[in-house]
Symmetry: C2
Subunit: 223 residues, 2 copies
DNA sequence: GTCTATAAGCCGATAGAC
DNA sequence: GTCTATCGGCTTATAGAC
């Protein structure tokens, strides 16, 4: 049995990701969830709140998983490769959630925008500090770590724009390829030699994300 | 003197890029252009047509410039580096136009969507074939050229999400850095050695784009 | 928790005068 | 080429019964 609350969450997620927040009416959400508009307002305060909840839930799982990556990897190179695989995985498996988080930013206002912005900044900080550490240790070589982190983040985020589960390439293959792209991009070196994902010991992305999801759900259950 | 038509185009461009197509009302467009709603309809047929015109104009300039790149560069390595610098430049200087082209896709319907999709596919084809040629010649080494072209395109497109003319890094510096990222990512090699943009002879991006813009405006003047 | 009914206002688009 | 006035419908959100 799936609760009304969950049906609303899923209806909004599908509609927001396919048509966009502004183009989605509360009638459509109520209709897809199988309830009336008035009932919908029993579960939410405003349409924007529904959006914020979706974005907050998606971001908190992503951040929790990225923090797990930091705990479970040995150095900047493994950490970056694992962060890339995680980000690609999230943007493929949770395509709808990821695309809402990435694109509906401008529909937020005031304090809600600030909250989401802080979460995004925190996540970006994990990437940036990973590359900065790699450069300062000397196992990466890139002039502007911040610029490189933006480049890699946008590259991985883009997966949600074109990935299809029915496509030729599996998500894990894409993730591994992108991790190799990332290692080349930051000129990762161990003992002067180039590195690929196959040379590294990296936690399994799907397991790691599942664990992060459980942590988040334990502290604040999904809508 | 700036014509009413141009004022409408610029108003729509600013509003669509800041708030999104769906969130922008024709009242706002008319107001910002300094005319009435009824007058607005003297210059356009529907709101969606206004969007299509903006997207078509932006894409046609980008494609014309990319084709100029192909004419003016000697091999796949120089061509890819030049395509990257062009794409970054367009997404920084023409941030508004680029973000509308990239994000308002889902507001298009029917034949209009098809027209824009074809243009985008044509542009992506130029990138893909450049990397494919590099791999087949042997000066690049990447398992899936198509995947690498998606990765690089999304990386460069992302510049429009965070770039600011007031920021620390100049757009030409970002473009050159990204081109170097790209050459590392596809493992570009000349005589077995890695390559950077400084080793290459590449047309000046701004000049090249200006020339492409003139070509487009000569065949179909801007709105 | 769910509903019907409705408020109050904005939406894209048009008619028709000047 | 520009305007005022307006149409019909859709928007988010609420009141109040069950």
């Amino acid at each position: 049995m799936i609760s009304t609350e969950e049906r609303i969450h899923e209806a909004a997620l599908r509609l927001f990701s396919e048509r966009g927040f502004e183009a989605t009416g509360i009638r459509e959400i109520a209709n897809e969830a199988g309830i009336s508009i008035a009932s919908l307002y029993h579960y939410m305060t405003t349409k924007e709140d529904l959006l914020v909840n979706i974005m907050e839930y998606g971001l908190s799982r992503l951040i929790a998983a990225a923090e797990l990556v930091s705990e479970r990897t040995a150095g900047p190179i493994s950490r970056l490769a694992s962060l890339i695989q995680l980000h690609v995985w999230v943007h493929g498996v949770g395509q709808k959630s990821a695309s809402v988080v990435d694109t509906e930013y401008r529909s937020l206002t005031g304090e809600r925008l600030e909250r989401i912005r802080e979460m995004r900044d925190r996540y970006e900080g994990i990437w940036r500090s990973t590359i900065q550490e790699g450069v300062s240790i000397g196992c990466m070589d890139v002039p502007e770590p911040k610029l490189a982190s933006f480049a890699l983040l946008e590259m991985c985020t883009g997966v949600s724009h074109w990935y299809s589960a029915n496509g030729e390439l599996s998500l894990s293959y894409i993730g591994e390829s992108y991790a190799n792209y990332g290692l080349d991009l930051v000129r990762a070196r161990v003992d002067g030699n180039t590195v690929t994902v196959k040379d590294l010991i990296i936690p399994r992305t799907a397991d790691l994300y599942r664990e992060a999801e459980m942590r988040v759900n334990a502290s604040a259950p999904p809508a």
